[in-house]
Structure formats: C-alpha cells, structure tokens
C-alpha cells in the first residue's frame, strides 16, 4: 500500500541516526575495551586482553559486581513486594477511584530522580529528619549510623525509585484480564483468594516479569544513588566505571566493564522475553 518513496523517506533518516549514534558507539565501546592507556600517549589503539584479565582477576572489580547484583536483586524483590499488591488493589478493588489512585502512583515517577534521592539523604542523615524524630520521641538516644552511607540506604532509595516502574506493567497486565474470568471463577465456587492464585496471578506473570526486569537492569546500572547515599560500603559497579572515566583515567578498562554490563543487560532482556512469551496466554 505504501509507495517505495514513502518507505524510503520514512526509513532512512532514523536508520542513519541510529547507526551513527547507537550502533557505532557500541562498536566503539567494544573496540575501546581491547585498547589500553599509557602515561605518555593517552589511549593506545592497540589490541590487548589486559582489561578483561584485570576485570576477572582484580578482587575489587568482581566483588563490586557481585555486590551490585545483590543490591539489584533486593531492590527488585522489594519493588515487586510493594508494587504488586498496589497494582492488584487498584485494578480489582479500587472501583471508581481507580483512575485517581493511578495518577497518584505515577506522579512520583515524573518527579526528578535526583530530587527524590536527595530527599532520602536529608531524611536518613545523622542530623536528618528520621534520626532527629526518633530522638525527639525518645526512641533512640544516638543517631542510627546504618541509615545513611550504606547499602541499606541505596536499596531503600532505589526501591523507592523503582516501585512505580514495577507497578506499571503489572497493572497493565492485570487490567487486561477479562473480568468475566473472575466472575466465572467465583461462579464455579472459588473464593476471592482462590481466584487470585489460580486465575489472576498466573495471567499477570508477563507483567511481573517485565517489571522485575526493569527494576533489575536499571538498579544494576545505577551510579547516582550509591554516589549520594552509598558511602564506601555501598559502591556499585557503575561507580567504578565512572571513576575510570574520571579521576582514575582508564577508559579502556571502563569500556570493558561497560561492555560486560551491556552484555549482561541484553542477556537478561532476552531471558525475560522468552519467559514472558511462555507465560502469555492471549
């Protein structure tokens, strides 16, 4: 139906842009990961596997990677824990106010990440709102240390950021469940709890997978929350990369780590996609 000219005009510009600014950079990153850096010449364009050797042998690198994955796993878990019942409530129990509640959940998403992370910093600090409140009501005598500059703070902040992200796809998949299935289940004798576990939850699994993937991938690559709130014990893999591109000046090594992150993310996406297809029934 659409002419050749139309199709060309429509396809070529985006294709060119994407090739230049998305594909090419990734290829460059791949190349960089095999280069090295020297004191005198800056970045040396000669191939070596040194960076990868370092990545896998130097303890701090893969330890940080593991810690990052553990933090990301916890963030995903808590985001789902908070987000799923919220989505279920809105979809099936909120009735006329459903739209209003939905907007209320979305609003924090639109508020700057930086603003929200900073806010947690002011709350969790030793002079922060939470500590002074606890002392004010005499629940504690001294400020609690672990609240800020710890993995706890990072997990808390990232959970706060990503709960709306897990909520969205779960809510969408719940909304797509035809209500007559719920009625049929009730009709056949299943209580609301049985209906949830036997009908609603299985049909919402693609949404859960999508939300979990989002939270997992994005929190894995996060560097702002750790920088603001993580302290030395809360450093994540992206912080190492940032310093390699900054003060530590080793772009090739940074590129190698980034490439690994990219591959990890793409693999996660691939697995998630497969699982989603397996669990989608429409």
């Amino acid at each position: 139906m659409f002419s050749r000219a139309y199709r060309t005009v429509v396809t070529v510009p985006p294709l060119l842009w994407v090739t230049t600014f998305l594909l090419l950079p990734y290829i460059l990153m791949f190349c960089y990961s095999f280069w090295s850096v020297s004191q005198t010449q800056g970045i040396v364009h000669s191939c070596t596997l040194e960076n990868y050797r370092q990545l896998f042998s130097v303890e701090v690198y893969w330890q940080t990677l593991l810690r990052s994955m553990w933090i990301a796993a916890r963030v995903t878990f808590f985001s789902l824990l908070l987000g799923y019942p919220l989505a279920y409530f809105l979809s099936f129990w909120a009735g006329a106010r459903k739209d209003l509640y939905y907007q209320l959940v979305i609003i924090p998403l639109w508020v700057s990440y930086l603003v929200r992370a900073y806010a947690w910093k002011t709350i969790l600090g030793s002079d922060g709102v939470l500590n002074t409140l606890l002392q004010y009501v005499h629940l504690t005598k001294h400020p609690l240390d672990f609240l800020l500059y710890s993995p706890f703070a990072v997990v808390l902040t990232l959970t706060h950021i990503y709960t709306p992200f897990t909520f969205l796809p779960i809510y969408a998949s719940l909304e797509h469940i035809p209500r007559n299935l719920v009625e049929a289940s009730n009709d056949l004798g299943a209580s609301p709890a049985q209906t949830f576990w036997r009908v609603i939850f299985p049909l919402s699994i693609p949404g859960v997978l999508a939300g979990a993937t989002f939270a997992l991938v994005l929190s894995l690559g996060d560097f702002l929350a750790p920088l603001l709130l993580g302290g030395p014990s809360g450093i994540m893999i992206s912080n190492i990369v940032v310093s390699l591109f900054g003060a530590a000046y080793n772009w090739p090594l940074g590129a190698a780590i980034s490439l690994c992150m990219l591959i990890l993310v793409v693999s996660l996406l691939f697995v998630s996609e497969r699982l989603e297809k397996k669990w989608s029934f429409s």
Binding site: V10, P14, L22, Y26, A210, V217
Partner: protein
C-alpha cells in the same frame, strides 16, 4: 468493553490488609517529597525535627541565584532541541516499524528501543567514546545529541502505540478518494497522531529536564539544571536545594496533570489507563 468492567461487588473496606498495604506504599512514595516541601520552608535548614521558623528565605535566595537560572535556561534549550530531534526521527521510525519491511528491521527496532531500558551510563559512555574519537568538544550540543538519541525511543513507542489505534481504513479511504501518500499523511495520519505526538513531546521534555545519567558524561562548560544541583550536592547540602526541588516537583505535577488531561480527552472509547505509559515499557521488551 464490558468484559473489562467489573461489577463484582468489591469495595475498599472488604479488602482489609490490602488497603492498609496500599496506604503504606503511598506514604512511602510520597514521604520524601512531603519532607522536601516542608523543609524548604524550614528556617533552620535541612534536617532536625520538628521543623521550625517558617520562612521563604530559601526561595528568595533561589530566585537570586544566577547560576541556577543559567542552568535552567540551558536545560530548557536542551529539552526543546531534544524534543525536536526525538520527534523528527521518532515519528518516521514508528511509521517504518509499523509499515515497512527492510533488512535489519529487527536489529533497528531493538537498537531504537534499547536506551529505554539500558542504564543511562552505558548510553552516555558509548556516546562519549564516539565524541572522543571524532575529536568533538563536549558542550551543550553533545548533551543535546545524547538526549535526542536516548529519547527517540520514547517518541517511537508513543507514536507506534498511536498508530496501532489508527484505523487503517481511513488512510485507505483517503487514497481511494484521490489523495497522494504525502497528502494522506498530512491530512489523515498526522491529525490522528496529534495526541500521541503531543503526549510524547511532553514526556520527552520532562525526561530531558530531569536527565542526569547521560548528561553526566557529555557535559562541557555549561551545566544543565540537574547537573548544577548535583554539583552543589557534592559540595555539601544547602537548603536552597529543597526550594529548587519543590519548584521542580510543582512543574512535574503540572506536566503530568496536563499529560493526563490530554490522554483522557483523546479517547472516544474507554481506554485502559496503563496503556498510555505502558508502551514505553513494553516497547523495551519487544
């Protein structure tokens, strides 16, 4: 769609602990924002409970802060340009994905949508390496290119979703009545996509104003607003930041209310609300 409207007599009271859970989650989501806003008026600055000395001092300082204003102007410039780039490339990309077959289409689709789900650091760093090899100096221009590239994905998913809702028969009718492809595009396709495009523009603008991960690596001498705030945060907490954060929050609120109004006005048929934002997320999965 009657299948999706529930008449099963459920109400909030019957759900018991579920309702409590939701209240707690809402409290958790809004706590930092509420604290920020309250403490932006706190005379004693950040921290310390309870807040005392209500004052507009911080706002006064904020509005006199030249560097912040410069950063705001920069951010607006960048956001405007990013919207332009993202739409000019994203609309054809959506059309291409919807209607054209070409070699490498699958790879193209994945590449376009990847920045949505990829941590910003990877997008930012890969572009940094590109600019380095091309010996380009870092400046607002490089930030604009970064934002534009990352946000094409948002434009594409929103417009693609809008195209799905478009009735193909309308375009066929237009062609049948003698209009050319280009005329049909201008007179039939584009007007129908109006709301998707405006919604996408609003979303892209807001995301760009707040963008920090990609900008972090592509910054030259001129700061955008998030990076200006970031710089100050690194140097120590100033209560002024609460004030600027509150202002940002109010603008975000206005943006989303506007976006939502647009969405609900668009729909003749009742639509599942989640489908409006969801394409951005689903698109990353497809």
């Amino acid at each position: 769609m009657e299948l999706l409207v529930s008449s099963v007599p459920l109400n909030t009271r019957q759900s018991g602990w579920l309702w409590v859970h939701c209240l707690l989650v809402f409290a958790f989501l809004y706590l930092p924002i509420v604290v920020l806003v309250i403490y932006s008026f706190n005379g004693a600055g950040v921290g310390g409970f309870p807040p005392r000395d209500l004052t507009l001092n911080w706002y006064r300082i904020l509005f006199g802060d030249g560097a912040i204003w410069d950063a705001v102007v920069n951010s607006l410039e960048v956001a405007g340009a990013a919207v332009a780039i993202a739409l000019v490339l994203g609309i054809p990309a959506a059309l291409a994905l919807d209607r054209a077959q070409f070699p490498g289409k699958v790879l193209f689709r994945r590449l376009v949508l990847l920045p949505l789900i990829l941590p910003g650091i990877i997008t930012g760093l890969s572009l940094l390496m590109l600019f380095n090899e091309a010996h380009t100096n870092l400046s607002l221009l490089t930030i604009i290119l970064g934002h534009g590239t990352a946000l094409i994905s948002v434009a594409t998913t929103e417009v693609f979703a809008g195209l799905q809702k478009l009735d193909r028969a309308q375009e066929e009718a237009s062609l049948d009545l003698g209009a050319t492809y280009w005329q049909t595009f201008l007179r039939v396709t584009l007007p129908n996509l109006k709301l998707s495009i405006i919604g996408a523009a609003l979303l892209i603008f807001t995301l760009s104003m707040d963008e920090i991960a990609v900008s972090f690596f592509l910054i030259g001498r001129d700061n955008t607003l998030p990076l200006e705030i970031w710089g100050r945060l690194r140097r120590g907490i100033t209560p002024e930041i609460n004030a600027v954060s509150t202002v940002i929050f109010l603008f975000s609120l206005a943006a989303i209310v506007l976006w939502y109004r647009l969405r609900s006005r668009a729909d003749v048929t009742p639509e599942i609300a989640a489908d409006s934002i969801e394409p951005a997320i689903q698109g990353a999965q497809s």
